[in-house]
């Protein structure tokens, strides 16, 4: 488990070592976070709002 910092509240977030870019993690502060890779290391950022309508 990698210990990362929540970009919103600054608290600690546990993320699996083999997490993939785009993976979503909900932090206890309520923030919806997205895993991304920066210089080959995992990082977290606030997830973009993505609609979930699967119309069509």
């Amino acid at each position: 488990m990698a210990q990362l910092k929540c970009p919103i509240c600054g608290g600690q977030v546990s993320v699996e070592d083999d997490a993939l870019p785009g993976e979503l993690v909900e932090h206890e502060c309520g923030a919806q976070l997205e895993v991304f890779k920066k210089n080959e290391t995992l990082s977290l950022r606030l997830a973009e709002e993505v609609g979930e309508d699967w119309g069509e």
Binding site: A19, L20, G22, E23, L24, V50, G51, E52, W54
Partner: protein
């Protein structure tokens, strides 16, 4: 002016019949064609595997990767040019195009979607290259139709922001073009005889009957009925859903075969 939509299965089983039927018409025609099965065949031959994704609430659906988009554009273009050439042999001035050209069909795609991946994790991925038509610009079609008899249209739209062609649903393309041009008649040629209720073809529906019925029947046909109702509201005089596998299918449809929504 008539808009004819011929689905991929009709093109596969009865292409020449449809084209000859169009060749016999005196009016100007816009023929929107499908070709999904043909796209799947070529994808297989090229070793492009179909991709499926699962939404957070468990809905599994087809995903159009960039590689599949390329195959889609290739196959549609091929079907288009062979049909256009065939119509030219039949004495028609025919012109094949797509919604990219002009541009004529502007579409948007979902840039990002949330899926549940193979490991059960929620993940944001690229949204695939299927688009929804958001605008029809009729200038190019209108000016081309002044000089030709038939426009053969492939269901490909353009994403203006990204500068990419997008796979759009053939029915949606046909309905939006017919609506934008307020066509006299939109004929949907399918591999069934029309809208079926208790095993019999419903011969006539008004707009509210079509909307109502659309919630009660199977997928595929329900969307056609919904779009048919909307196009009639938007100014299309008459939508006919009819068999493309009979002789002279367009004349048959115009003469009342199948289901008429008006």
């Amino acid at each position: 002016m008539i808009v004819v939509k011929a689905g991929g299965r009709v093109i596969k089983q009865a292409r020449d019949k449809v084209l000859e039927s169009i060749g016999r018409l005196g009016e100007k025609v816009i023929l929107v064609h499908g070709g999904g099965d043909q796209v799947t065949e070529v994808s297989k031959r090229m070793g492009v595997e179909p991709t499926f994704v699962t939404s957070p609430n468990g809905i599994r659906s087809r995903y159009t990767s960039m590689e599949e988009l390329e195959v889609y554009v290739m196959v549609m273009g091929m079907l288009n040019k062979f049909m256009t050439a065939y119509l030219i042999k039949a004495g028609k001035r025919a012109f094949g195009m797509t919604g990219v050209d002009g541009p004529t069909l502007l579409a948007e795609r979902k840039k990002k979607i949330v899926i549940i991946d193979e490991r059960g994790k929620k993940r944001i991925i690229d949204g695939g290259y299927t688009g929804k038509v958001v605008q029809v610009r009729t200038e190019s079609i209108t000016s081309i139709l002044e000089g030709v008899d038939v426009v053969v249209m492939s269901p490909i739209a353009v994403d203006k922001e990204e500068g990419l062609p997008l796979n759009v649903d053939g029915d949606q393309a046909a309905f939006s073009i017919a609506s934008a041009l307020k066509a006299e008649s939109l004929v949907l040629l399918t591999d069934v005889e029309g809208v079926l209720m208790e095993g019999k073809v419903v011969s006539h529906l008004d707009v509210s009957q079509a909307s109502e019925l659309s919630s009660k029947i199977g997928p595929g046909m329900n969307r056609k009925l919904m779009m048919a109702a909307e196009s009639v509201k938007a100014g299309v005089k008459r939508v006919t859903i009819s068999s493309g596998l009979v002789n002279d299918p367009v004349a048959e449809a115009i003469n009342g075969r199948g289901t008429v929504i008006e």
